[in-house]
């Protein structure tokens, strides 16, 4: 049986000015500007669309992060109606990935066991970790569990033929990445396992990290899942993505790109 292939899109919903010292665990002497984009992703094939991550919505306000459109509005522009999305893969529960659940009223959410226990567990008393999580979004997820709307994965799991998730940890304890079969081969949505291309190229991870060893391993796991082809790995926050790939339509220029 041949696996179905999917079209994969990145939808940009926010951006932020940042710097290289904020981008690497191990600093180099020069602090240079290095901006960040915020994305959600859509995977379409076989008449279904799966989305990856929920971004943040207007409930979350933190200064510099410039919300251009809610993730739901962004998907809508791409022609994906958020209300008809049935399955959302949530790579991890940070505020910029786990936020707009109310805009997806009919979806179930795929999450790693260790991500939920991390987001509700002992490490969240440390500001360093709490900074990444927004309690209202965590609460949304706990309620979703009790509504039978969370599907837990322990390690690796198949979402559909040709779409699998893989726990890598590192950035958060239950960080997972997504492998998708496309016309060009296996594509890996690394989300925050690899924030920027340079994090991967320099083997110097992003400093928002729970376990540095797992974060470094996660980068290798992503490469392995991409059959060794680094070009098939899509980092979570790199603005270069918008230049490397092209918009599916002129109208979506600067908003969405097709990744496969």
């Amino acid at each position: 049986m041949t696996l179905p292939t999917y079209e994969v899109y990145a939808v940009k919903y926010a951006e932020r000015a940042s710097s290289s010292h904020s981008t690497f665990v191990f600093k180099d002497p020069h602090d240079a500007p290095m901006d960040m984009d915020y994305f959600v992703w859509a995977i379409s094939g076989g008449g279904r669309t799966y989305t990856v991550d929920l971004g943040f919505d207007r409930r979350y306000e933190r200064g510099a992060r410039n919300l251009l459109r809610t993730p739901a509005e962004g998907l809508d522009l791409l022609g994906v109606n958020p209300a008809s999305v049935e399955e959302v893969i949530v790579t991890h529960m940070h505020y910029d990935h786990a936020g707009s659940m109310p805009d997806f009223p009919n979806a179930k959410f795929h999450l790693q066991d260790t991500e939920m226990s991390f987001a509700t567990g002992r490490y969240l008393k440390h500001k360093a970790f709490r900074f990444g999580n927004f309690v209202e979004y965590t609460v949304d997820f706990v309620r979703a569990v009790y509504d039978d709307r969370v599907i837990f994965t322990d390690g690796a799991g198949e979402i559909a033929p040709g779409i699998t998730v893989h726990r890598v940890g590192g950035h958060t304890h239950g960080m997972q990445i997504v492998r998708v079969n496309t016309r060009g081969g296996w594509l890996v949505l690394a989300s925050d396992a690899i924030h920027m291309y340079v994090n991967m190229e320099r083997q110097n991870p992003y400093p928002a990290v729970f376990n540095v060893h797992e974060m470094l391993e996660g980068s290798r796991t992503a490469l392995k899942l991409a059959n060794g082809n680094a070009n098939m790995i899509i980092p979570g926050h790199d603005p270069i993505k918008m230049q490397r790939y092209s918009a599916p339509t002129a109208k979506l220029d600067g908003i969405a790109v097709r990744l496969d």
Binding site: D113, S117, T120, R122, K125, N133, T138, V139, V142
Partner: protein, 277 residues
């Protein structure tokens, strides 16, 4: 060795529910009869401080589940002469609705909880209705908020809270249920909470039917005996109405409501453990 204060330990009943005895056992029990489950919180006083074990449920959940709430758990604390607003340390044995509801009445407390209890109460086991049923999502969510307010002290296994006062992971009933061991004038006393619901569950043994892992629950009975230095009389079950008759009342006004567990029993302990034929 650090001097351990002797604690006074009180069980205070805050509610109850009529049910059949058969409902208390996993495996069919030959006897069925009208029975009752009592709901308790526990107050510990020693070393100049007051500690609270569990915070029961409040009016909303009592109504939802048709349980009799005689007094708010925080009111029960007040009846023991303590101000809930001034309690620093509350031990939460587990997050079931009848143990973790009245959190807001303790605005200055730190809550001691097992890592595994939160992971259980927010994780994949809650995708199963029977395991989810004893949890109230609003209570779980309140505890999550307390985590983000840095008011939860997580415990991985066991922890000393003060000299002569410690908590111990037992598991079984839920993945993260913990029991309390406290030093008293008669030695170590163990508040089993729901690691053992009724004397009969542990005596037969025949586990309470709300159970996550039967092996851990049965092993738990042994752990509880061990924590009580082998003297099961000093293991206090979490829901047994007999507790109120076995120990002296905390005061004459609190007859039938609160008992002093650190005092010698006034009832026949042999009978509850089925030692007499």
């Amino acid at each position: 060795m650090v001097d351990m204060p002797e604690y006074e330990v009180y069980a205070i009943k805050y509610g109850d529910h009529k049910r059949m005895r058969q409902e208390n056992f996993l495996f069919k029990d030959p006897h069925d009869e009208a029975s009752s489950i009592d709901f308790f919180i526990w107050v510990l006083q020693g070393g100049g401080k007051t500690y609270v074990v569990d915070v029961g449920f409040e009016y909303r959940e009592a109504e939802t589940r048709g349980r009799s709430l005689h007094r708010l758990p925080s009111e029960a604390v007040r009846m023991m002469g303590a101000d809930p607003g001034k309690i620093d340390d509350v031990i939460i044995t587990h997050l079931h609705y009848d143990h973790a509801g009245d959190l807001e009445s303790f605005p200055n407390a730190r809550f001691y909880l097992q890592d595994r209890e939160m992971a259980y109460a927010t994780g994949r086991c809650m995708c199963h209705a029977p395991l989810r049923h004893p949890y109230a999502v609003d209570y779980v969510v309140n505890m999550v908020r307390l985590v983000y307010d840095d008011r939860v002290q997580y415990v991985d296994g066991e922890m000393q809270i003060a000299p002569g006062l410690s908590v111990h992971h037992i598991g079984g009933h839920t993945d993260g249920v913990q029991s309390v061991r406290v030093w008293t004038r008669k030695g170590w006393l163990v508040l089993a909470s729901d690691a053992n619901h009724f004397y009969d569950n542990m005596a037969i043994p025949n586990p309470f039917p709300i159970v996550y892992n039967v092996g851990d629950m049965l092993d738990g009975y042994e752990k509880l005996r061990g924590l009580a230095d082998g003297n099961e009389d000093k293991v206090i079950p979490g829901h047994d109405p007999q507790v109120l008759g076995l120990f002296p009342a905390a005061s004459s006004e609190l007859e039938g409501i609160a008992v002093a567990l650190h005092e010698d029993p006034v009832g026949d302990m042999n009978k509850v453990w089925r030692r007499t034929k």
